[in-house]
Amino acid sequence: MAVTGLRRRPRVISDLAEVISDLRTPRRWPKLVLRLRAFLALIAIIVVFTSLSPFFLTWSNLQVMTEHVAIYAIMAIGEAFVILTAGIDLSVGSTAGLAGMVVGALLDQGLVLHPLGIIVFFNVPIVILIGLGVGAGVGAVNGTIITRLGVTPFIATLGMLSFVRGLADLTTNGATYPNLGGSAHDHNTGFAFIGTGELFHVPMTIVILIVFLVVGVFIAKRTVFGRRVYAVGGNDRAARLSGIRVNRVKMGVYVISGVCAAMSGILITSQLGAAFPGTATDYELNAIAAVVLGGTSLFGGRGTIGGTVIGAFVISYLTDGMVLVGVSEFYQLLAQGAVIVTAVALDEAQRRRLARATYVQVEAVTGVSGTDGVQQEAPPPETLAQRVVAEAIGREGGS
């Protein structure tokens, strides 16, 4: 019955209608809070800090804070693609650090070609592209370890977190590249512009964030690749049986994550005017927190790029707000840790809620309870442990 075309409304409107109808039904408020959690948290943060400091809600402060948001948000957009495939990328902070160092080296020292005894300086756009290429390279290594060697994403990228940070340190043995200004002679001036400049009175970092957001949303929503990302994260067996080359998709998301992380690292370096190897240490936690807070499931298949950016606003405004009202740095760490755990706990709550809703739906529609199985003659429900056990001893393959 293809009645679809007749009563089609844009998703945004039907979503909004759903939110409004939920608002009218107190029973559905928990669901609503879960769904809009990042947005509500952002409002709460703005309200609380505005009442604590008269400077919080000023145009100049919002602009400064949003430039900080951009750093986290760009990194988190890449992380979101990885998490949508049910993976994780812990190496983004280190990747940002390495990209910053490579860019710093190219601007400060140039590319030294020992055999030829010459030093090559590239102009700024090329340097930035090389920096992004380094990020893509780290992502490709992550992807290769995960898809070819079968190492779980957590361990693979945990290893790379350490390895890549080590590479960043090795570029200078831990020292900083202090002079990124370039020289007119080498045609490589102007690096500061992307981190601190303005385009039509909008800070460049925010312009770049908007570009990454738009491209990210487009990839996720409109491209074949984006659809496959959701499919792989939602059910990789079904994706494989639909002819999707799951490993290619996974490779793709780690490369995207590496490029986004590198962009963040380059922006930080540009803002600081110096490249130091410790850049973006621990930023992976904020990136992951932004993704999860933004409503993306750590189990894959569910979430949005837009939500991720809202999540980054929450994390970043919270940090900056605490700085503004003079909360000690140590309390800031406590707060960030608490936010991450809370975000994941909320995600878990939402997942259970969804699972229950599906279960009830299945029962109602097929007239078969989960216990008897949607499949006929299915075994009684198993706990996860039982299932693992059953699978380990080799399920009856048959039919």
Binding site: A231, N235, R245, E363, P380
Partner: protein, 510 residues
């Protein structure tokens, strides 16, 4: 007539179970007698599992009573059932493969004091139990290292380590070799001699008649037969199991069959290092032909389809699709060559639950609906819409999550996804499983329409009616081999069942 004067060990009286709107069991009464093998038989969906779950305390009946030794009981959990001496041996055994035999038997029930486990006593008791069953297994062996038959013995020992009066065995032989079945039956006999009442569930009718004392046949949630095993034969059971005539269920119409399109030569799939799930199978499939594969659990149907589609690990043999050898191709390439598999478990393998109906249907064919990697939305919408119409998916809005569909419509969505790729050969693994009657007939008419247009369809089923009603040609698989290859009309229900039961078992007796 069967029971003596003393009350049955375990009895369901007028038990009904309703799930949502569907009646799984309707006024079922069954007695389980001590010292007897009480056989429960029926097709998939007849209600065997539900009745077993009620006996094992996994579910409560919607109405009716459960009696233990004449007293009404309420068993809300397996623990309640266990306290009354009723134990279930799950078909999949559920052992811990990383623990020793003794640790498995006493898992959750360890012997010891103050949290210290007395391994010695556990091993001694395990030895006793295993000896009683005539098994020569060391209590220290790691369970995962044992053969399936031996694991079964461990599961039985685990049940016996408690006070057990009634033992429910769900398809205990489905993964066993003939020799292991023989050993199992000896143990079953020994238990019966000790006065244990066995509830024995199986599809293997010849085997049931060998080991059983009393037979209860279920169909569509009702008891349709009750007899002493010695008084009945296979045809008696088959007749009651299937009830209806195949022609009443499916409106089959004859078709002319074209030239062969898929040729399979000596295809094998290993199950373990020493045994095969599919063994040297050869057959061919012609354009416009609907071929059904019937077989019991473990016969190798799923593995055969997986091997054809390129997802079975270690498959060897020749598969030729329209003259091209596809054996070395990946799944993606096979789809491109014109093959598609509708998998057995649509939740785990067929659908991406998080995505909409539309995104699921277009998933396998997205690149053709896109330009430069960007999905052309109008294109996608109209392509999905026409398929939704063709297979008759009942959906209000294609953007709704696929999980909002009923089971039958979800299955239609998987079929629509398959058809999107325009296959010449459609493989369908148990396509009617968990699908309501209306959707079954829709699906079958879709299949016939596709075959009329020249598509070759290979489906599997463990439902006799489905195979006889839908297929132009019937293959029967048993123990990994194709044992019957006959045209529609040349094969009867009785012959089908006889062929599907491994013959080596016929001689194994009590």
């Amino acid at each position: 007539m069967i029971a003596g004067h003393e009350p049955a060990l375990l009895r369901a009286e007028d038990v009904s179970k309703v799930f949502g709107g569907t009646v799984a069991l309707q006024n079922v009464s069954m007695s389980v007698h001590a010292g007897k093998v009480n056989v429960l038989v029926g097709e998939n969906g007849a209600g065997k599992s539900t009745l077993m779950s009620i006996f094992a305390g996994l579910q409560l009946p919607t109405s009716g009573r459960v009696l233990v030794a004449g007293n009404e009981v309420r068993m809300g959990s397996p623990r309640d059932a266990g306290a009354l001496g009723i134990r279930l041996i799950h078909q999949e055994l559920l052992l811990f493969p990383n623990l020793s035999v003794a640790e498995n038997i006493f898992a959750g029930n360890e012997i010891g004091t103050f949290g210290r486990v007395d391994l010695g006593s556990q091993e001694d008791r395990t030895s006793d139990l295993l000896t009683q069953l005539g098994q020569n297994i060391s209590p220290r062996t790691i369970a995962g290292d044992l053969a399936v038959g031996a694991q079964q013995m461990v599961a039985i020992c685990k049940a016996l380590s408690h006070n057990v009066k009634a033992l429910i065995m769900d398809e205990p032989t489905s993964a066993l070799s003939a020799r292991e079945v023989d050993a199992l039956f000896r143990v079953v006999r020994a238990l019966v001699d000790r006065g244990v009442g066995i509830i024995y569930i199986s599809h293997r009718i010849d085997e049931l008649l060998d080991v059983g004392d009393l037979v209860t046949v279920l169909r569509d949630g009702r008891v349709v037969g009750n007899a002493v095993a010695a008084d009945v034969d296979r045809s008696w059971i088959v007749e009651r199991m299937i009830g209806r005539k195949p022609a009443e269920m499916f409106a089959h119409r004859p078709r002319t069959v074209g030239k062969p399109i898929l040729t399979v030569t000596r295809l094998s799939v290993p199950r373990t290092a020493t045994s095969s799930a599919v063994c040297e199978v050869s057959f061919s499939l012609a354009e416009g032909e609907i071929v059904g594969i019937y077989g019991l659990m473990g016969a190798g149907r799923t593995e055969l389809l997986e091997a054809l589609f390129g997802t079975a690990y270690g498959a060897v043999g020749q598969i030729s699709l329209e003259g091209d050898d596809v054996q070395d191709m990946s799944v993606t390439e096979r789809i491109r060559s014109g093959m598609f598999l509708v998998p057995e478990d649509r939740q785990r393998e067929g659908l991406v639950q998080e995505l909409s109906v539309k995104a699921n249907v277009s998933l396998a064919h997205l690149s053709s609906l896109a330009a430069a990697g960007v999905v052309k939305r109008q294109f996608e919408k109209s392509a999905v819409q026409s398929l939704v119409g063709q297979v008759g998916i009942k959906v209000a809005d294609m953007e709704d999550p696929v999980t909002s569909l009923s089971g039958g419509n979800q299955q239609k969505a998987v079929v629509a996804k398959a058809l999107m790729t325009k296959p010449n050969v459609l493989l369908m693994d148990d396509p009617m499983r968990g699908v309501d009657i209306g959707a079954k007939s829709d699906l079958f008419s879709t299949m016939q329409g596709l075959a009329d247009d020249g598509m070759a369809i290979l489906f599997t089923s463990s439902d006799i009616i489905e195979v006889l009603g839908m297929a132009d040609r019937v293959l029967v698989m048993a123990a990994g081999r194709i044992v019957v290859d006959l045209r529609r009309g040349q094969v009867t229900a009785d012959a089908l069942v006889a062929a599907a039961n491994p013959h080596s078992l016929a001689s194994v007796g009590a």
